[in-house]
């Protein structure tokens, strides 16, 4: 067919500029927040405070990386907080049982970690298969498993608290409290998981299919994409992320109860949204989800450091930030 004169070097039009703007939004917000924190209290910028904030961000951040992929592919996972509690409880029970056989050393802990990862992926697999094969809305399926996981851990703990054997706890402790080259291990793991998530999303066919399914599932189906398999895999990846987060969480307190990981699902989803990923799927970025998670925990930290607003209002401030983030993104989009 006849060839077309094509503007080779035409810069991308409005949507690219729009894309850049929203892409930077979360980062700009984070910088503003840091400036605010520094202005309010100089200790905010201390290395000790910042590493503390980042370490505590790690749990939500890691889970939110998984949530980003799930949401991009048009799904949602409400069960992650309960799943974390259930995995933590199961890990503690298993490690405690292993102590007589394998002692309080690393073998026990490594087995515990492996169990944590496997349980996470298995739980994700269940979420994924039930919602795709059973053709049930993911919201409903994960609402159900959320209740199931939470009640299982309460049942294991008999309504109380499951505590990790003290010997194991001592060996395990550095996994949360340790550092490598001055960077806390949880932060390193968060960076690793975020890199993995970014790689999956942007450089693999899996990531491309997630975007396609989230944008238009019918087109994806009519392009021979294995929609159900890809969606299920996003839940498995989410489960893996929850497993990793829980492995870091267990040495922090050395215990699990019915209130472990409470509301984590909301914080994870909030991080994704503050990061600019649309809840309806089809687009999103991993690194800005991580920024979103940092913003969320930094708000709490700043409120702790100031007396201007009661820290009991933490949730309210976070809520306002979430709504503002979405409004801002919509504003930019309309002004295109």
């Amino acid at each position: 067919m006849r060839s077309t004169p094509m503007a080779q070097e035409t810069p991308r039009t409005a949507h690219l500029m729009w894309g850049r703007l929203t892409a930077l939004g979360p980062l700009i917000a984070l910088i503003a927040l840091i400036a605010l924190g520094a202005a309010i209290n100089p200790t905010f910028l201390s290395v000790a405070n910042l590493t503390n904030v980042l370490s505590r961000t790690a749990f939500i951040g890691i889970i939110a990386v998984g949530a980003t992929l799930v949401i991009i592919a048009g799904g949602i996972d409400l069960s992650v907080g309960s799943m974390a509690a259930w995995i933590a409880g199961s890990m503690i029970i298993i490690m405690n049982r292993l102590v007589p056989a394998t002692g309080t050393g690393w073998i026990t802990i490594l087995i515990g970690m492996a169990v944590g990862l496997l349980l996470g992926m298995a739980a994700g697999l269940v979420n994924g298969l039930v919602s795709t094969r059973g053709k049930i809305d993911a919201f409903i399926v994960t609402l159900g498993t959320m209740g199931i996981f939470r009640s299982l851990v309460t049942y294991f703990a008999d309504g109380g608290t499951l505590s990790l054997n003290f010997g194991v706890r001592a060996t395990y402790r550095p996994v949360f409290y340790g550092a490598l080259l001055g960077i806390p291990i949880p932060v390193l793991v968060l960076i690793g998981v975020a890199l993995l998530g970014g790689l999956l999303l942007n450089y693999t066919r899996f990531g491309r299919y997630c975007l396609a399914i989230g944008s238009n599932e019918t087109v994806a189906r009519y392009s021979a994409i294995p929609v159900d398999r890809i969606k299920t895999l996003t839940y498995v990846f989410q489960g893996l992320c929850v497993g990793i987060a829980t492995i870091l969480y267990v040495p922090r307190l050395g215990s699990a109860s019915g209130t472990t990981g409470l509301l984590w699902e909301l914080e994870a989803i909030a991080s994704v949204i503050i990061g600019g990923t649309a809840l309806k799927g089809g687009s999103g970025r991993i690194w800005s989800t991580v920024v979103g998670a940092i913003i969320l925990s930094m708000i709490g930290n700043i409120l702790n450091l100031t007396s201007a607003i009661s820290q009991y209002l933490n949730g309210a401030v976070q809520g306002i930030i979430i709504i503002a983030a979405v409004l801002m993104q919509r504003g930019v989009r309309k002004g295109e």
Binding site: T13, N216, A220, A224
Partner: protein, 500 residues
């Protein structure tokens, strides 16, 4: 002509998308009670111009006047309130609402505080009856075929008390029967003083229905003339800028040795029953029929996209089990959907990922190969003559016809042996149509087999070696050679001839 006759006027309209200008100083006027056709190649700027007229997008430069006043509608809903209504080229229906809810969307009838459902149902039925369709007003739009959706779009537009109705390719998916009905409706509307802007690539339609015609080429207005002053051929020449040879090449029917595809007794519940046919190597097989005859659904069933009950499929003499599109692709078969926006392309994604979405499924690699994707895109842009603002544009930034070419390139990217094209020239201009016919012809000449499902009679007659006519979900007859005529096809399609 008296200038007070002019209802809607545009003067010196320019439109820029970023640094790219797509309309240059275009003038356009619409008189009361006229049908003014707007024609031009794919990407000429027709849709862009009418989107400006109805307030969907702002112009970069230029003035609009409507009923003698400056016209600056703030969006479509205000334009509709003032009497300017548009039928979009890409459908604009709420897929999860019912037909009647869509028809009354945004101006629901009320009885006190409550919706007056009964009145809305009654009016919907009246409008649909006027369009002579049997669409159920309570059906969900998602479940309708593309042509039914088009009828709903038309029903929605004519149900609004409009002074100006803009129709952007309303007949691209309609058969001649429905086009006749639409024309009847248009003539009645025009009689009552409504003005119509009519965009179409079907020039004989333009000839039949319009009083004036404006030709756009590459964003410039080439001419505005009374329709009777131009023949369809002259229109084509002036819009393409060169003369067109014969649309169709001479047919060379292949020898019917061994079928590459044999379909036996296939039933797609609700749509197609006990369908059997063969497709030979090097053959172009047409599928004709009225809207709702079940052609699309039959092939969706064969390709594993819809549940199938009974029957079997043989590929090159060997039975194959096709339960998903992937199975079909593994058998070297592809299906180009008629529903470009709903099933064909992801409009908010870039061109390259769309192009390779289907072909990548067959690859084994884990990683994306972006550089190769871009190369493939460049090749497709050359081969299929796709006009895109840039290599990294979104699909939504392409004109309708260029999206269609991309959709075609996408399914061809898997190098199939059996190619099913559902409305392959939907929304494609005459010049490019000729190229696509040539392309299909060449495919067949190189030993591939093509099924063309089309509501365009000329296309079926000029292109196909044999024609299967379907009626109400059943194969009513198979025509070949000199029997392939419009009369004969209609006799089978309407049930005068053949088993029903």
């Amino acid at each position: 002509m008296d200038s007070s006759d002019v209802l809607l006027e545009a003067r010196g309209i320019c439109k820029d998308y970023g640094p790219v200008r797509v309309l240059f100083d275009v003038d356009f006027s619409l008189r009361r009670g006229e049908v003014h056709a707007l024609i031009g190649e794919n990407g000429a700027g027709k849709s862009t111009l009418v989107k400006i007229l109805c307030g969907l997008i702002p112009q970069t430069q230029g003035e609009l006047t409507y009923k003698g006043q400056p016209w600056r509608p703030l969006g479509v809903s205000e334009a509709e309130r003032q009497g300017v209504v548009m039928i979009h080229q890409e459908f604009n229906l709420a897929e999860d609402l019912t037909v009647e809810e869509n028809i009354f969307l945004g101006r629901e009838l009320r009885k006190g505080w409550l919706l007056d459902r009964r009145a809305m149902r009654r009016l919907s039925r009246e409008i649909l009856a006027e369009l002579e369709t049997d669409i159920d007003p309570t059906a969900r739009v998602r479940d309708l075929s593309v042509s039914q959706k088009q009828m709903v779009e038309i029903a929605k537009a004519i149900s609004r008390k409009a002074d100006v109705i803009i129709m952007d390719e309303p007949t691209a998916v309609l058969t001649s029967h429905e086009v006749e009905i639409l024309f009847k409706v248009i003539r009645r509307l025009v009689q009552s003083g409504v003005s119509i802007v009519y965009i179409s690539h079907k020039l004989d339609e333009v000839k039949e229905i319009s009083q004036r015609v404006t030709i756009l080429r590459d964003g410039h207005r080439i001419a505005t003339e009374p329709t009777e002053a131009l023949s369809a051929d002259e229109m084509a020449v002036r819009m393409v800028g060169r003369s067109l040879e014969d649309m169709f090449l001479p047919k060379t029917p292949p020898p019917e040795v061994q079928p590459v595809l044999t379909v036996r007794d296939v039933t797609v519940p609700g749509f197609a029953y006990h369908c059997s046919f063969e497709l030979y190597r090097g053959e172009i097989l047409g599928f004709a029929g009225l809207i709702g005859a079940g052609r699309t659904e039959l092939f969706e069933g064969i390709f594993g996209l819809r549940p199938r009950a009974g029957g079997f499929v043989e590929r090159a003499g060997r039975p194959v089990e096709i339960y998903s599109l992937k199975d079909a692709i593994n058998c070297g078969m592809v299906y180009l959907s008629e529903d470009r926006k709903g099933k064909g392309l992801i409009t908010l994604m870039e061109l390259a990922p769309n192009l390779t979405l289907m072909s990548s499924v067959r690859e084994a690699g884990f990683w994306l190969r972006r550089r190769e994707e871009l190369q493939e895109l460049e090749r497709a842009i050359g081969e299929y003559d796709i006009k895109a603002p840039s290599l990294r544009s979104l699909v939504a930034e392409l004109s309708g016809g260029n999206q269609q070419k991309l959709a075609l390139a996408k399914v061809m990217a898997i190098d199939p042996q059996v190619i099913v094209l559902d409305e392959p020239t939907r929304g494609i201009d005459v010049g490019t149509k000729q190229q696509i016919y040539q392309f299909i012809h060449d495919l067949a000449a190189t030993g591939k087999s093509v099924v063309v499902i089309s509501s365009e009679m000329q296309e079926i007659i000029g292109l196909c070696h044999r024609v299967v006519v379907m009626r109400s979900g059943r194969i009513a007859g198979v025509l070949s050679g000199d029997d392939i005529t419009e009369e004969e096809i209609m006799l089978y399609a309407t049930g005068v001839k053949g088993a029903a």
